[in-house]
């Protein structure tokens, strides 16, 4: 039995199920459980306060504080799911995330568990440059953290559940344009990420990439919104008889070099697509990592399709130029294929 769902609903269902399963699980964040409110900025926790009045904790606007609170609660055996309204606000809390949440276990010589999940929406969506940043780059490779992303409702539910059951701190990045393309909180430019989801309990691995489309000529790597754009680009490329493999990298820390490596060995050409400034991107790490591991299989340099090195502009025209799109991916693929 399956049912069709968007990412926001899938996350909500996952949270509710995990809270039923384990009373140590609780949610914390701003405006997440206010009666008559919105269930967080993107409706993910909407209504959950009714079933769990004591475990949906609305906080003051104090990110550093409530991430610290979550850290302390996790060390005492609770399992917080921390909601940050916009990923950008992680900057306000980053000291707690990197200095405490990520390091406590190591600093204690392995005596501490930090079962904590952070959910952060990212992406440029007409809100100007302080509610738009792609924040993955700041956390990828931070020792002690695991970083993952969800690009469809199936993954959203399964990854959230897996994350809640882990004893390590996990950051889940979500994209504002993928929560749902219809209804109340739909955004202009939203992409449909609904899929059929099993009724039964399931989890999705926190360290595995997903091959979204098989192909033999080139490997396109992306995540979140870009994994959708990459698939669309691959479809268009079939017109030119280019057969692209598309991998949704999903897990950014650790990176699944097994899945990626299998593809690189096959295609010898790699395009990495990422929303966010190119310099210092996660794609840089993936490119360097692939070169180190599979350099001998590369037929040409790895190419990155990313945003310009600018803050996110407001004007929709500029924002659309900032955000990598299908034509740019298609062009990049053509380039690596021609270059030989």
């Amino acid at each position: 039995m399956t049912k069709r769902m968007g990412i926001a609903e899938a996350l909500r269902e996952a949270i509710a199920e995990e809270m039923r399963r384990d009373e140590k699980v609780f949610c914390i964040g701003e405006d997440i459980g206010v009666p008559g409110g919105w269930g967080g900025a993107f409706t993910v926790t909407l209504g959950l306060e009714k079933e769990f009045p004591d475990r949906i904790i609305d906080t003051p606007i104090a990110e550093l504080g409530f991430f610290g609170v979550s850290c302390g609660a996790a060390m005492m055996g609770m399992r917080p799911i921390v909601d940050v309204q916009y990923g950008d606000f992680l900057f306000c809390a980053i000291d707690q995330i990197i200095d405490n949440i990520a390091k406590m276990r190591y600093m204690s010589g392995g005596n501490i568990c930090m079962p904590l999940v952070i959910r952060a929406p990212i992406g440029a969506t007409g809100r100007g440059s302080q509610h738009a940043q792609s924040m993955e780059r700041y956390f990828t490779g931070v020792p002690g953290l695991k970083v993952t992303t969800v690009s469809n409702a199936y993954d959203a539910k399964g990854i959230l559940k897996a994350a809640v059951r882990e004893d390590n701190p996990i950051m889940i990045f979500e994209h504002k344009l993928l929560y749902g393309s219809k209804g109340m909180r739909a955004e202009s430019g939203a992409v449909d990420a609904t899929v059929e989801i099993p009724e039964d309990d399931y989890v999705v691995s926190l360290d595995k990439a997903a091959v979204r489309r098989e192909g033999s000529d080139v490997t396109i790597l992306g995540w979140l919104l870009m994994s959708h754009f990459a698939q669309e680009a691959a479809r268009r490329l079939t017109d030119e008889s280019i057969d692209a493999e598309v991998i949704d990298v999903r897990s950014l820390s650790p990176i699944d070099y097994e899945t990626i490596g299998t593809s690189v060995r096959k295609t010898g050409r790699v395009i990495i697509v990422e929303e966010g400034p190119k310099t210092g991107s996660v794609g840089a790490e993936i490119a360097a990592g692939i070169m180190e591991r599979f350099g001998e299989y590369l037929l040409c340099p790895i190419s990155r399709v990313a945003s310009a090195d600018v803050p996110v502009p407001f004007s929709p025209l500029l924002e659309n130029l900032y955000r990598p799109d299908v034509p740019r991916i298609v062009a990049a693929v053509r380039q690596v294929i021609q270059d030989e």
Partner: protein
């Protein structure tokens, strides 16, 4: 008797001790904000305008009453909810609408947008949309004024919700220990997003909170533009003569949603009705009429004029030049 009671009395008793022109300019400025916000909301709901918006209907008296005391080179900081502050600080509807339409003629060349309205020529840095983020920044502006030994004053607008942020604490404390010429203006509209102030403060008196930093905080009726004006006047004067900082808690209410499409179901109906009755524009209009400053027809004329200006500005904005690819990478570095 509290400051606002005193002022209320002063305002209803006898003649108003202000020039007619000044009073009407305050009124017109408030109407401008209201019509701008209502008009923009409509454009958003129609889908004509991109992005998101945070509006300030119901809070017009705070921005107008405070900014009437400031010079062009007295800078203010604002927030994601900055349209009212911008209009009060002298930005034009045109440059703001152009900005909202993402045009290069916008006050930030279309790169800022609704949450980052500002104009350096008019004494307003781009709005800082990180809650509380503008507070230390304003302290820095005031520090510069102090170091340059000028009598300029910085003014910092923020909401009740910002009081919970560490940035508030750090910024207010530094302003206090360094005696900075900085007027803090907390627009207490009872809510931070959907969260009522009573959920985030044990003692919801913000003026009392700041006393612990060694700053006297004053609560003022934020829907009484003259009360705000007088309180801000005293604060600004205090800062100009080097006896800053000053802190105003302006009691007001947001009668619109937190951002576009918020139906405000978390606000009790009765509370909304009570505050609707305190509409700062109607209230001031009534006072002006009582005092014989203007009549109904005059008020209508003002509103009509403002509406006409707004509509013209919208038409212009729709035709304003949009940025092209070459604009994406400019303005990052000097």
């Amino acid at each position: 008797m509290s400051i606002q009671e005193e002022n209320n009395q002063a305002n209803t008793r006898g003649q108003l001790p202000y020039e007619r022109e000044f009073l009407l300019s305050l009124y017109e400025r408030m109407v401008t904000i209201r019509e701008f916000e209502d008009g923009v909301k409509f454009l958003f709901l129609e889908g004509i305008m991109p992005g998101t918006i945070h509006q300030c209907q119901g809070q017009e008296a705070t921005a107008v009453g405070v900014c009437a005391n400031l010079r062009a080179n007295d800078f203010i900081t604002s927030t994601f909810r900055g349209h009212g502050h911008a209009l009060a600080k002298g930005l034009t509807m045109q440059e703001m609408l152009d900005e909202l339409f993402g045009a290069t003629t916008g006050c930030c060349k279309g790169k800022g947008g609704s949450m980052h309205m500002g104009n350096m020529q008019k004494g307003m840095i781009p709005g800082i949309a990180i809650v509380g983020g503008g507070i230390p920044v304003a302290a820095g502006m005031a520090l510069a004024y102090k170091m340059e030994k000028s009598d300029r004053v910085a003014t910092c607008f923020f909401g009740d919700g910002a009081v919970s942020e560490g940035a508030f604490h750090e910024g207010v404390n530094m302003a206090a220990i360094w005696n900075l010429p900085l007027v803090f203006v907390c627009e207490n509209n009872l809510y931070g997003a959907s969260t009522h102030i009573s959920k985030v403060m044990r003692d919801t008196n913000i003026a009392r909170r700041v006393a612990s930093y060694g700053i006297e905080g004053r609560q003022v009726d934020g829907n009484d533009v003259l009360a705000v004006y007088e309180a801000a006047k005293a604060s600004v004067r205090q800062c100009r003569k080097g006896a800053g900082p000053a802190f105003l808690e302006l009691l007001t209410y947001r009668v619109t949603g937190h951002s576009r499409r918020d139906a405000c179901h978390y606000q009790p109906k009765q509370e909304r009705e009570e505050w609707a009755a305190k509409n700062p524009i109607e209230r001031f209009g009534k006072l002006l009429k009582e005092k014989g400053i203007i009549d109904d027809k005059g008020l209508t004329t003002i509103k009509t004029r403002v509406l006409q200006q707004f509509e013209e500005a919208v038409e212009n904005a729709k035709r304003a030049p949009l940025p092209g690819p070459q604009d994406l990478t400019t303005d990052v570095y000097v």
